[in-house]
Structures are given as C-alpha cells and as structure tokens.
Symmetry: C2
Subunit: 338 residues, 2 copies
Amino acid sequence: MRGVMMYAPGDVRVEDRPDPTIQLPTDAIIRLSASCVCGSDLWPYRGHDHVHAPTPMGHEYVGVVEEVGADVATVKPGDFVIGSFFASDNTCQICQAGYQSRCIHAELMGGTQAQFARIPLADGTLVATPGMPDADLIPSFLAASDVLGTGWFAAVAAAAGPGKTVAVVGDGAVGLLGVLAARQLGAERIIAMSRHESRQQLARQFGATDIVTERGDEGVEAVRELTGGYGAHSVIEAVGTQEAMMQAIRATRPGGHVGYVGVGHDISLPGEELFFSGVHLHGGPAPVRRFLPELIDLIWQQRIDPGKVFDLQLPLEGAADAYRAMDQRNAIKVLLTP
Amino acid sequence: MRGVMMYAPGDVRVEDRPDPTIQLPTDAIIRLSASCVCGSDLWPYRGHDHVHAPTPMGHEYVGVVEEVGADVATVKPGDFVIGSFFASDNTCQICQAGYQSRCIHAELMGGTQAQFARIPLADGTLVATPGMPDADLIPSFLAASDVLGTGWFAAVAAAAGPGKTVAVVGDGAVGLLGVLAARQLGAERIIAMSRHESRQQLARQFGATDIVTERGDEGVEAVRELTGGYGAHSVIEAVGTQEAMMQAIRATRPGGHVGYVGVGHDISLPGEELFFSGVHLHGGPAPVRRFLPELIDLIWQQRIDPGKVFDLQLPLEGAADAYRAMDQRNAIKVLLTP
C-alpha cells in the first residue's frame, strides 16, 4: 500500500509500505476512506518535536472494515467506522469514566495517512455509522475522529452551556470546532479570537457571535470589555503555547472554566496566579471516543457540518503539499483521499 | 482594645490599638468571641512572605454584633455571627456563582486577632447563627470561618462524593477538615497523608479510612497501590508547595479532580505533565461564604465537630506563644480568647 512518512522536519514522502495485518485477535484492518493532516503533525514538521527516525504519519481516520481478529464482536467487514487517535479498551475504570484517551491499555495511533490501517482494540475503539454514508458526509465523519471530538471535549471541559459566554483562543480546526461545539451545547455568546478573515467567517458560520482580533493581554482586555468586566464563563484553549494558556486563564472569570486541548509545548503555569484566578482548569488529550456516538448521530442527521474545516482536498500522493499548505496557513485543514 | 501585631518574622506582639468604628454604612462592628492563628499566618512569621510594616494580624473570627451601619439589614446588634477572610457583597455575578472570595468588591480581612473588628459589607459577609451558641460550639463556628470552609471547598473542588476515593495531601487544620468534608460529602474511602501520630488520630476521627505516611513520589505510589493502580478519584491539596501540588496531581487518576487550597508559594506547574495527567484542577482562596449557611447548620445541630482542630487555647495576650506553638508544629491550631 501507499503511506505517508516523515523523514525529518519539512521532509514528508509518500512511499510503498507493507499492508497492515491482524496482529492480535482484538485488531481490525480498515481501508481508509479519507485521512488528513493534523495541527499536531506540524510540531515535528516544524522541528519543534524531534523526528528520531522515519515515522509513519497520521492518526485521524474513517474507513471500511476489511478484516477483524477472532475476538472482535462489535464491528464486522463492510462496516463504515470511525475511531480516535488513541485506541482504548472502553471497559477499564478510566474509560468508563469517559477518559478513553488515558485508558490503561491506550495505544497512540499512527500511520493512518495511508490506504490501510491496523486498529488495535477494535471493539473499544471503533464506532460504526448506521449505514454507508454518502460521500459528502465523509469529511464530517473524519473531523469527528479528532478535531471535532477535541473541540467538543474542550467545550465540555470549559463547561460551555446555556447562559454562558464562551471565548475561544485559537482559530485552527480545533478552535473553530470548539465554536461549533459551544453552539451545540447551548452557549449564549461565543467569542472567537482570530485575526484571519476566512477563519472568522467560518467561526461565524459555526456559531460565533463576536470576533476579537487582539491577542495576549489585549485580547484578555477585549474579552473583559465584552463581558461587563467579569471575563468569560468558559474559555477554550486550542493552541498549546504559554501565551495562549495565559490568555485563556486571564480571560476567564473567577469560578469559570478553562478547557485546554492544545498540546502543551514549553508551558509553565505560575502557581500563585493560577491560585488567585479561581478558575477550573481541565484538558489534555481529548477522550474523543466518549463523544463519538453522539457526534456520529449529529452528523448522520446532518445537524452539524464540521467537515467545513477541510478547505483543501488532495490525493494521498500530494501529502507533501498538504503539509506545506497547513504549515504556511494557506489551508485550515487538508483532507487526503487514498 | 488589645490586638495582635506582627513587626517582623518571629516578632508578634499584643498591643493597645484604637477601637474600630463604622466607616461606611455597610460596615458592622463585632466583639470577638474567639479568634485564632492560621497556617497562612506562618508564611510571614517564617519570613517566606515579607512584613513591610507592623501589621494587624488575624482573619478568622466569630463574635457578637456591637453596632451596624445605616445600610446593614441582615444582622443586628446582639446577633452571633460568622464571616470569612474575604468580605464580599454576595450580590455580584461572581458571588452569585459561589465565588465570594473573588467578589468584585472583595476586601481581604485583617486584624481579627483582637477584641473588636470592623467587618465591611456586613450584609454580604456575615451569617448569623439561629441563636446564641453554647460556649462549647464556639471553636467549631470559628473553624467554619476559614479552615472548615476551606477544607470543605477543597473537597467540593476535588469532587468528593459517593463511590469516590479521596486522598488528602497536608495534615494541617485545612487538610484534616478536608477529610471531615469528604466524609460528609459521602466519600467511600479517604486516604489521609500524614506522618504525625496525633494528626493521624484526628484524621481517623474525622473519617479517614487509610493513612499514608510516605511523601512525594513514594506517597503517590502508595495511593496508587491503594486504588488498584488507578490513582484516587479526588485529591485535596492543602499545603501550597511545589512538592505537594505535584504529589496531588500525580496521585489523581486521569479524569479525576484535584482541589487545591494551599496558598501557592513559588509553584510552577509543568504544562506538558499537567496536560497528559488529564486531571481537573480547581482551587484558590476558598469562597467560604458559599458554604457558611450549610456549615452553621451542621454545627448548630452538632452533626460535625470541626472545633477539634483547636488543640491549644490561649488568651489573646499569649499570641506570641500561639504563633510559636504552630510554627514548631506543637499545636495543630491555636484558639485565642479575647
């Protein structure tokens, strides 16, 4: 099969790789219907994370089950399925509490920018759609695999809901889908923090009521002005930098909630400021699996259209261009067709 | 009147000071029935916080209303009242959400280690008991003013409740009352982390089911062993040091809750570890006012006895001895009688 490999920062290649096979009786093999490039793939691409060896890329996936191991009971060949970037057993105490990304048997996915993929713990990890989806729904299901699930978790962690003002730091796919999630969860007012025209427009389509273009402490001040001086009830952090985290904490009113899902890079939170902020802080790698049944239902019923974050579609063979477009922020998110 | 002043680290004196008077129509003057020394008073006493000028000490108080300003409507002379270390209007959006310690008009209390005290925003700050309490209830009401309210908030922030295993880092008065609060909130199992025999005994009286004597990563390992490898659902941090915070975060299972109330000193939380911990983190200066009606009711009905944390009682004139006893950990908490 063909698959994407990263050799070094900036060096992404599509190569012949061995077809994946069932390794354990809990595995499934899927034929990818679509895959994509994640904002987190840009950390190694930009040299912020090390690339120690040529690495199969990709952790977002939707596709059709080709084959299952002997112990797999909940999905079968021919099913259209969605999973998340952590495989999970969905039965341990951590999974049952809704934190499947920290399952005691969690396995980080990789190599799904390819034609086929092996999915460990298939019963716990994969959720099938009610039937074979129309092609135009595939981008939305693919979004559910990570960026929608992550934005949704951030909105839940930020306690977005009726009567709440939600601010969103970060206008990448996760931040934009955090806007969509806050809307679905009933937030009264949603402030998208973005200085990019096209992203502002998508934020408004997804439900943003206000746009703040300032960043850092100026952005905090703007949110305070919009909220009677109190700060937002809920703030979603979807960047993963020190500045973004402090912007999120400072834009939140005392007793409010920060939901943070940007993978933290060189972040250090000052204890005393955090203490006196009085905020709730919750985040981490999103337990996307918790939300998949609900998200699949919303997409199947065409009540949400998160696939709009894919503003560029390329064949798998064009992966190098896909990375480049996202690196240069020429695309919000690139869908790859195998 | 007589009142306690701190001149410098280790230098505490009882002096003649002017009687407080009504300054604003929202003030009340109370005659202290009892006051006490707080663990947080030890930070300046030990030189960790600066003492820039001679400072009136004390922020915990119960007493009888002597006089009220023209606008005060909810308490009247003769009432026995309890307030918290932050005066609050109890009407702003932050107060109404239960975060009175961060009221937009919050005033940090001081100078209640004295015979009389001025209480700003009396209507919002003070809560009267149903009648004049017997003398033996006064220590418990005094505990409600800070250490009980703070331990209670920590337990609520840590989401202590039925079916939960709660670990408590810190065996000072707040940690011990965190144990009591977790018990009242219905926790199934309560692990007190303490290496002091007398404090372990009090923890058990308050409801601890297990004692862990190890600290730091060894303490974390011990909590994990007691919880099937998962970590505690809920951890209360009641110390305020880097080691205690990391111990609390690491002892919590993914998706669990850390309630932290130790006033942070030189704490810096590593973003990446916090991210992958997947915990909920909430704390800060406890909004004791939120809990006062409930706590007063529990004490009035003699269903809890938080006053047991006072293991030494001295006259106000013995304040220097009181500070010394707490500094040397010869007393958990010292009650001062005016």
